[in-house]
């Protein structure tokens, strides 16, 4: 009885194994036939395998056809034929919907379909303008495009066109006034998203800064809700520096002109040079100006330029102060002290200009 039960189990197991292997054998035979060029019945010709998630992979011929269509679509876009490009992208996607390139096809279709206003005429114009190299872009060409934009329907293409025009006025043609107007028109476009608003406001701020109005630039940033950004902080800093540059320039002018007018001009003579530049004074100047240069450059080679500039400017100021001092030797004490104080201010002003030029002001909190 036990032997019969074992025999029955073995027979059932063998039968189920044979049934499970049967389709695989059939598929294998179909594949072999396909490789031999024999078309059998309803075997799927375009399916060469399966992806990991079970989706059918396209055949090599379909992938080749898709690649050719993608190249055609790329060419159509680069030749500013967006309608043709859209049709080609759609055909490319249909040729092999599960291929690696299908995702790219989807993205390009979505991009072009979202910019189809005006029967693709505005987009074709935008694509043509984007291809214009900087060397051949002139004000007349850009202004003509800006005028054409006014006639296009509102939408993403017109907004992107406004961006192109504004950025080109500012960065490529260097016309901050027209850039300011273009950024203002871009900001007035309907349907701007937050990212576009930020770009337009920061471009407007750049244009206004170039026009010498950082306060208006900062106001534009704050109106766009960008008052707490790093760009706004830069504008505030730039505003402070403009004031400090003015003060430094006034201090230098006060010393140079005021010292001469108060009688220092008498020292600007060859005979005064001998009295002004005694060896002890030259030694003192070398210590005061050369010491930091030596220390700083030995400590950090990158600091040499800044300290060398400081030393040269300081030497020039010291020389002028010494000459003025020689010219004012017989002048009343008040005048001499006024010139000395103005020399002190001029040294501060020159130091500010040097540090500003070297980009060290940020580390000083200015």
């Amino acid at each position: 009885m036990r032997a019969f039960a074992w025999g029955l189990c073995v027979m059932v197991f063998a039968a189920s194994s044979v049934r499970a292997q049967e389709p695989r054998n059939t598929e294998r035979s179909r594949s072999v036939e396909a490789l031999n060029g024999d078309s059998v019945g309803a075997a799927p010709p375009a399916t060469a395998g399966a992806s990991q998630d079970g989706a059918a992979l396209p055949a090599a011929s379909d992938r080749d056809a898709q690649s050719a269509l993608v190249r055609e679509a790329d060419r159509a876009e680069s030749e500013a034929r967006p309608a043709d490009a859209l049709a080609l992208w759609q055909r490319a996607r249909a040729a092999a919907p599960t291929s690696r390139l299908a995702g790219r096809c989807e993205r390009r279709i979505a991009y072009l379909a979202a910019r189809s206003e005006g029967d693709f005429v505005p987009l074709a114009d935008l694509l043509r303008m984007r291809k214009v190299p900087t060397a051949s872009l002139d004000a007349a060409k850009l202004a003509a495009y800006a005028r054409r934009l006014d006639g296009y329907p509102p939408g993403p293409v017109r907004r992107e066109g406004r961006e192109l025009v504004a950025d080109a006025w500012l960065a490529r043609l260097g016309d901050a006034t027209r850039a300011r107007d273009a950024y203002t028109r871009w900001l007035a476009e309907p349907g701007l998203d937050d990212a576009e608003k930020r770009l337009a406001a920061s471009g407007l701020a750049r244009a206004l800064t170039q026009l010498g109005d950082p306060a208006a630039a900062l106001a534009a940033m704050e109106r766009a809700g960008l008052g707490a950004t790093g760009d706004a902080d830069d504008l505030r800093r730039e505003g402070r520096r403009r004031v400090l540059r003015l003060v430094a320039g006034v201090l230098l002018a006060l010393f140079a002109l005021g010292g001469a007018l108060l009688g220092g001009w008498r020292g600007l003579r060859l005979q005064a040079l001998g009295r002004a530049f005694t060896p002890l004074r030259v030694l003192a100047a070398a210590w005061v100006l050369g010491g930091p240069l030596l220390l700083a450059s030995r400590y950090d080679h990158a600091a040499f330029d800044t300290f060398a500039t400081l030393a040269v400017c300081g030497a020039a100021l010291l020389a002028l102060a010494a000459l003025y001092g020689a010219g004012l030797a017989e002048a009343p004490r008040v005048r001499r002290r006024a010139v000395a104080v103005s020399a002190f201010g001029a040294a501060l002003g020159a130091g500010f200009f040097v540090l500003d030029h070297a980009g060290f002001l940020l580390s000083l909190g200015l």
């Binding site: 210590w287 005061v288 010491g291 220390l295 400590y299």
Partner: protein, 115 residues
């Protein structure tokens, strides 16, 4: 009250003396100020490191302090060697005398606390 120097050589020697005194005081003070600044910024260090650590920073501090001392000495020399500066010499000497004693005390305490 000291008599103001009458001869130019004496005036020059007096100014040089004052400048040398200023150099010594100011450079020591500048060194101590740098150490105090480093202590405030970096906190207290391990005293053993004074022995074991590299002394590169010491040389930089000493060089910077010497420069400051030189600048102060130049200023004092320029002030003290001016014509009609006899009374000024006295004032400078008195001020330095008034300043040097407490400064020396401060420097001694600082060097004791901040090796």
């Amino acid at each position: 009250m000291t008599q103001p120097p009458t001869r130019p050589e004496d005036a020059r020697r007096t100014a040089l003396s004052l400048a040398a005194l200023t150099f010594g005081v100011t450079s020591s003070l500048a060194y101590a100020a740098q150490r105090v600044f480093e202590r405030l910024r970096g906190g207290a260090g391990d005293p053993l490191l004074v022995v074991f650590d590299l002394h590169t920073a010491f040389y930089w501090r000493a060089a910077t302090a010497a420069w400051w001392g030189g600048v102060a000495a130049i200023l004092v020399f320029a002030l003290a060697s001016r014509p009609r500066g006899g009374a000024l010499h006295d004032r400078v000497a008195r001020v330095l005398g008034l300043v040097v004693v407490p400064l020396a005390l401060v420097i001694a305490v600082t060097m004791w606390r901040l090796p």
